[in-house]
């Protein structure tokens, strides 16, 4: 019976990704631009954790390509980072689900920083090194925001019964 009602509420997943993409390019004051958390990656990690059978490396890669086209970066650098983070989240999802929220947030710090590290490497290789400690702030802020994102998306998932 359970196989018959699988895959429900895909529109909600797409909607959250679109909102995340919008938040990625919404104009901010110049001082805050460097601090913008990676919304798309946060939402991606949540869905990888909650529905590992639906959202995974492929969707991460596709989202990365969209992010690259949207932000004008080298095509594929976000795709690489997102697919790796999605893969790790899939590997760890059973452990992550059991953690209390603050411990989850710590894990997010590691995952987000790993994604940023990959992007930093690619930037370094193509000759655009970034020399600023501020570069790592989005990971920190993303981890701090994780409880909010998690509760919000879980509320959405339960309300609309996304399976």
């Amino acid at each position: 019976m359970s196989t018959l009602i699988r895959h429900h509420g895909g529109a909600i997943i797409i909607f959250t990704f679109v909102v995340a993409l919008i938040l990625t390019v919404v104009p901010l004051p110049n001082e805050l631009r460097m601090l913008r958390p990676d919304w798309v990656l946060l939402v991606l990690i949540y869905w990888c954790m909650a529905l590992p059978q639906r959202v995974g490396v492929g969707i991460g890669w596709l989202l990365g390509l969209f992010t690259d086209a949207l932000t004008g970066t080298l095509l594929g650098q976000h795709a690489l980072a997102y697919s790796l983070v999605a893969f790790l989240t899939l590997k760890l999802h059973q452990r992550l689900r059991l953690y209390p929220l603050w411990q989850q947030a710590l894990s997010m710090l590691v995952l987000l920083a790993l994604g940023q590290l990959l992007i930093l490497w690619v930037n370094g290789i193509v000759g655009r090194p970034i020399h600023s400690w501020l570069y790592w702030m989005p990971s920190l802020i993303g981890a701090l925001l994780w409880p909010v994102v998690f509760l919000l998306l879980r509320g959405l998932r339960r309300t609309f019964r996304v399976i």
Binding site: F66, G72, T73
Partner: protein, 278 residues
């Protein structure tokens, strides 16, 4: 990634993806557009009259200057014809608006609301009312992405307006600074000198103002002087920009759409004049 970096085969894929994300960009741009529309619709009569008077005065002033300019232009052309030079004054321009979209904070890029439907091409120069702003990097049917002259990966061939000394202005990553790394210690350059595009390299038309020299530090221990300049265009404030088409002018035509391969023989040796090296 390597393919995108080294070759330009993926431009069409990027264009496709950009069309998909175009609704997102226009959605984000919407509040700004609405605000502008509201401001325009609810402007008071007095305000409009004041604006009108001010613009009239400005128009008169510019018209007067233009009269002199036209005479000078014809004289200049006549003299250049005498010298057999292939130089033309007057370019076709199109006004584009910046979309209120934030890109990667570590790259100086902007999104314009004109694309290949309006014949915008990759490498097209971009100017505002005060000077050169940059060049287009990616072109999609509805929008295009432009790189500003202050991006660390951007270089523009310039010359000093006072004496014609040629050099290259490289972006530094700071919005108010360009650096001129290839100026010999003995060169005649001073604080306050105006830098204009030299037209070498074939990307930018000659004669547009680029920057004003702000500091010249001569250190005898180094081969080159450390010169920095402040861009004249309002890179962080302009909302309307001009896309420039240079009219075909003999020798320059073949070089125009190509990445720069052969600069003119007299140009200072530099590998990436006016070419984006992403």
């Amino acid at each position: 990634m390597t393919v995108d970096h080294r070759q330009q085969h993926l431009e069409s894929l990027r264009a496709g993806l950009s069309v998909v994300v175009y609704p997102i960009q226009s959605l984000i741009d919407l509040p700004g557009q609405t605000g502008k529309w509201l401001r325009e619709s609810f402007a008071t009569r007095r305000q409009l009259q004041e604006d009108n008077a001010r613009l009239q005065a400005q128009h008169l002033l510019l018209q007067a200057r233009l009269q002199k300019f036209e005479a000078l232009e014809t004289e200049n052309l006549r003299l250049r014809e005498l010298l057999d030079s292939s130089f033309k004054v007057g370019d076709r321009v199109l006004i584009a608006e910046l979309m209120a979209v934030d890109l990667d904070p570590y790259r100086h890029q902007v999104v314009l609301n004109k694309g290949s439907r309006q014949d915008v091409f990759v490498g097209q120069p971009l100017v505002d009312a005060y000077g050169v702003m940059g060049q287009t990097l990616h072109v999609t049917p509805f929008t295009s992405t432009a790189m500003l002259i202050t991006d660390p990966a951007h270089a523009v061939p310039v010359q000093v307006n006072r004496n014609g000394l040629r050099s290259i202005a490289v972006g530094t990553g700071a919005l108010q600074e360009l650096s001129l790394p290839y100026i010999p210690n003995s060169a005649d350059i001073r604080v306050g000198d105006l830098l204009v595009t030299s037209g070498l390299g074939g990307r930018f038309p000659a004669g547009y103002p680029v920057a004003v020299v702000t500091t010249v530090t001569i250190d005898p221990g180094h081969a080159f002087a450390a010169v920095s300049a402040r861009p004249l265009s309002h890179l962080d404030r302009s909302r309307e920009v001009l896309l420039v088409w240079t009219p075909p002018t003999g020798a320059h035509t073949e070089l125009l759409p190509e990445p720069v391969t052969a600069a003119e023989p007299g140009a200072p040796a530099a590998p990436s004049v006016g070419e984006e090296t992403e």
